[in-house]
């Protein structure tokens, strides 16, 4: 789908996860890639409070025509990229509809309520079930496990970006990823991030 057009305008994409996972950075990288693609991008996000361990989310509105507001209206997300699987489920009530697509990392991050034994964290099957029932298409990847194999769990959000490119839901170009990354980090970290991006794309193909 390289150099392709958006399948819908605006294309509404949410990146969600838990504070500390690098959600904001991932949304900036994707946003900048899409600007290089010639799009108008608006990203709405909230951060700054002690959101460590809290749910965080970035709203991306990608358009070839004009700028949009920084919050996706109810029931109008086209794609959810979740760095933590239950966060994808959490958003479906507000943003979902039967055709929405979801790409999620399968690695659980237990909330303190779960750690304390007051709440229960679902099994992977209990996570898959509502995702499959309530969406048009679902991709599950164990990005954290793959990131640890590459030496650093924080690479999981780069793997997720690569996986997003692999799904083909929006036109993303590897060269744009390289350009954006090389402006924000040194050569040493760029190599490993490119590797993670490619690995993510591979995970979707298999």
């Amino acid at each position: 789908m390289e150099n392709g057009k958006l399948s819908k305008d605006p294309y509404n994409l949410i990146i969600t996860g838990v504070g500390g996972q690098g959600n904001v950075l991932a949304s900036r990288i994707l946003g900048n890639m899409m600007v290089r693609q010639g799009c108008h991008v608006t990203i709405g996000e909230t951060f700054g409070a002690t959101q460590r361990g809290g749910s965080v989310m970035s709203n991306l509105r990608i358009s070839e025509i004009s700028a949009w507001s920084p919050q996706i209206p109810k029931g109008q997300a086209d794609m959810i990229v979740a760095l933590e699987p239950t966060e994808a489920i959490r958003l479906l009530g507000k943003y979902g509809h039967p055709e929405i697509k979801v790409l999620t990392n399968t690695r659980a991050i237990h909330s303190v309520g779960v750690i304390a034994g007051e709440l229960k964290y679902p099994s992977l099957n209990e996570i898959k079930e509502p995702l499959q029932e309530l969406t048009g298409e679902v991709w599950l990847v164990d990005a954290t496990e793959e990131a640890m194999k590459l030496g650093n769990p924080i690479l999981s959000n780069t793997i997720m970006l690569g996986a997003l490119a692999g799904t083909g839901v929006i036109p993303m170009q590897r060269d744009h990823f390289k350009e954006v990354m090389s402006e924000t980090m040194g050569q040493d970290r760029l190599e490993i991030n490119l590797k993670a991006y490619d690995l993510g794309a591979e995970l979707i193909k298999h």
Binding site: G48, Q51, S69, Q76, L92, V112, I115, K120
Partner: protein
């Protein structure tokens, strides 16, 4: 490379609202910037400090917002362009000086940027600072999108110079912390010579001394008159829609984006007019009249207080004979809530109700099913201290010391990450929480209630940055009045909550120069307080010290708990210890502790393994602080030097 400085004229970049403001200031030839960190404003001074040396400007994190305003004002008095930035609560702190500044006026263009937090995403309140513009009588600008955030900021400096007064540019979270495309303009290369002129006549605005007096009010009124005239033709006030709309929407700030989206979503472009005001105080009367004449039904859409709404209504009342009676909808009539932030959904709903339109994007059945799935399968995530956070250890010791003391002692809290001490993550130890430094001030008040029979031990907490910002005067007051309480300074070596901005306790400033660090224990000692310093990771010593200090009743005591934040640059992703669970020793629910580590201590780096019935370390999350090893009564949590 920084796009702020290297971004090319005529090119479009995706930047945050705060970065758009920064670029606008640089394009205006800003020379001095100051501020105090606070979400959602912090990136303004941060980005400026990144480029300070290359751009030849001076940037500082001031000790508090009042001082930030004073520092920026000095630059303006010396004919340089300057900016002070802060969040909404900071404007309250700065207001004391700003009221006087509005009277003396300014010389070099001076802009006050306030970034406010409707819905209080990361604030203790959702205060609306726009009232200050009206009360203090200086002009207010509110950008309606990212491009305007840049363009308006740039213009605000010229405008400030034109009228000789401070100009306020107000942003909100969904602009400051949202990103969009912005087309950059040229950066000037100007040499500036700072000179403060004071030898002219007493009230000479360009060559006299800058002294606030009651006489200045008349001059200020004349300036406001001029402002109104300038605003009549401002390109920042725009109208989109038919010449005779059924309904006129008047909005400002990000309300603009939500209104545009709502009009499009409902397909009512031919029925509704959208007047977006960029110059919201003072309102230009002729412009408002022109649009009020278009229709009799007006909906005003804005966040937090009905500021625009009230001001439009005053004008409408003044011109009622020319424009006739109008029907106003908005916050007072209940179409727009008077709290929380706006969204396209809220605006869509209001418009659909007013115009009697149906609107549903998703079948209710789907939404019900998805909401039920979220309830059942997505466990709530309550806020918690980070793994390795020194505050968790501090409050563990404080909580245990209070329990051991047994006299219903309590903690007066204030603003910072440690505000979470009011929640289970801080073992619910904080029992008051207001402004920066208020813990110390309120505690000193409680401590003077001994004569009325109050015998509960009183503790207060403040962070290191907060200590300098506002706790010092409260501590001076307490020591002088011999208030018997213990101030605990939670010194984690940075303004951690907002992203490690420098403060006077550190030996580095905003521009990364080496500077003298002020010693918190020595300052407290010099005031005459009894001072102790401990490492909060040493739980036993910390608790013991606290119990001793609570017993000691002769005056004010200070305990500095010093341990760097787990996210500080020196500690981030560096583990002191590799943690492990000795599964044989962990007897979980059968242990006398009934799994104290996960049930009560609740560090996210520890997980309870439901199957094996033992605690586990989450190696992705654990920061390796080693504190949990001291919690476990069975010695099952083992630390090993990393």
């Amino acid at each position: 490379m920084s796009v702020m400085l290297d971004g090319k004229e005529g090119m479009e970049y995706m930047v945050m609202g705060n970065e758009a403001i920064v670029r606008g200031a640089l394009e205006a030839g800003l020379k001095v910037a100051s501020g105090y960190p606070g979400t959602p404003s912090s990136e303004i001074i941060e980005r400026l400090s990144d480029v300070a040396k290359d751009a030849g400007i001076y940037v500082e994190w001031s000790v508090n917002e009042k001082v930030a305003a004073e520092v920026a004002a000095a630059a303006s008095f010396a004919q340089l362009r300057s900016l002070a930035s802060m969040k909404q609560v900071g404007v309250n702190v700065a207001s004391d000086f700003l009221l006087h500044l509005a009277i003396t006026g300014t010389r070099g263009g001076m802009v006050l940027v306030t970034c406010e937090d409707p819905a209080a995403h990361s604030s203790s309140n959702e205060g609306d600072s726009r009232g200050y513009a009206r009360m203090m009588e200086f002009p207010l600008l509110e950008p309606g999108d990212f491009q305007e955030a840049k363009d308006m900021t740039k213009w605000a400096f010229e405008f400030s110079e034109e009228i000789g007064n401070l100009v306020m540019v107000r942003s909100v979270t969904r602009l400051s912390h949202a990103s969009g495309n912005v087309k950059f303009g040229p950066l000037p290369r100007t040499e500036a010579q700072a000179e403060y002129r004071f030898s002219g006549a007493f009230l000479d605005p360009v060559a006299g001394p800058m002294i606030s007096t009651g006489f200045g009010h008349r001059i200020q009124q004349e300036k406001l008159k001029k402002v109104r005239e300038i605003f009549e033709d401002s390109p920042f006030n725009t109208y989109q829609g038919p010449d005779e709309p059924e309904l006129l929407i008047i909005t400002c700030s990000v309300g603009n984006l939500y209104c545009k989206e709502a009009i499009k979503a409902l397909g009512i472009e031919d029925r509704v007019g959208l007047l977006k005001m960029g110059t919201t105080w003072p309102l230009p009367p002729n412009l408002i009249k022109k649009y009020l004449l278009m229709t009799d039904e007006i909906l005003i859409i804005e966040e937090i207080l009905p500021f625009l709404e009230d001001n439009v209504k005053v004008l409408a009342a003044e011109m009622v004979q020319e424009i006739g009676a109008k029907k106003f909808y908005g916050k007072h009539a209940g179409q727009i809530p008077s709290f929380g932030e706006l969204s396209a959904d809220l605006v869509i709903q209001s418009l659909a109700d007013l115009l009697d339109l149906g609107y549903e994007t998703v079948a209710q059945e789907y939404t019900d099913k998805a909401s039920a799935a979220a309830f059942a399968r997505a466990p709530q995530r309550e806020l918690t201290f980070c793994p390795g956070c020194p505050h968790r250890a501090s409050f563990w010791a404080i909580h245990n010391a209070l329990e051991l003391d047994g006299r219903q002692g309590f903690v007066c809290g204030d603003i910072g990450c440690y505000s979470l001490a009011a929640l289970p993550t801080g073992f619910s130890t904080a029992k008051t929480g207001h402004a920066m430094g208020s813990g110390a001030g309120v505690a000193s008040g409680f401590a003077k209630l001994r004569q009325f029979g109050m015998d509960q031990p009183v503790l207060a907490v403040c962070g290191d940055s907060t200590f300098f910002h506002a706790a010092i005067p409260a501590l001076v007051n307490a020591v002088h009045h011999q208030a018997d309480f213990t101030l605990i300074v939670l010194d984690n070596s940075g303004t951690a909550m907002t992203g490690f901005q420098s403060h006077p306790g550190l030996n580095i400033n905003a521009m990364k120069d080496e500077v003298p660090a002020l010693d918190i224990p020595a300052i407290c000692q010099a005031m005459g307080a009894r001072v102790e310093v401990r490492d909060p990771f040493d739980l036993e010593e910390t608790q013991k010290t606290l119990n001793e200090l609570m017993e000691y009743t002769e005056g004010t005591k200070v305990l500095v708990l010093k341990q760097a934040c787990a996210l500080s640059p020196e500690k981030k992703r560096v583990k002191s210890y590799n943690m492990q669970i000795n599964e044989e020793n962990c007897i979980g629910q059968d242990c006398g502790c009934n799994r104290l580590c996960t049930r009560i201590f609740r560090c996210p780096g520890l997980i309870w393994d439901e199957v094996k019935k033992v605690a586990r370390i989450d190696e992705v999350i654990c920061a390796g602080c080693g504190v949990c090893a001291d919690i476990c009564p069975a010695g099952a949590i083992v630390r090993e030097e990393a």
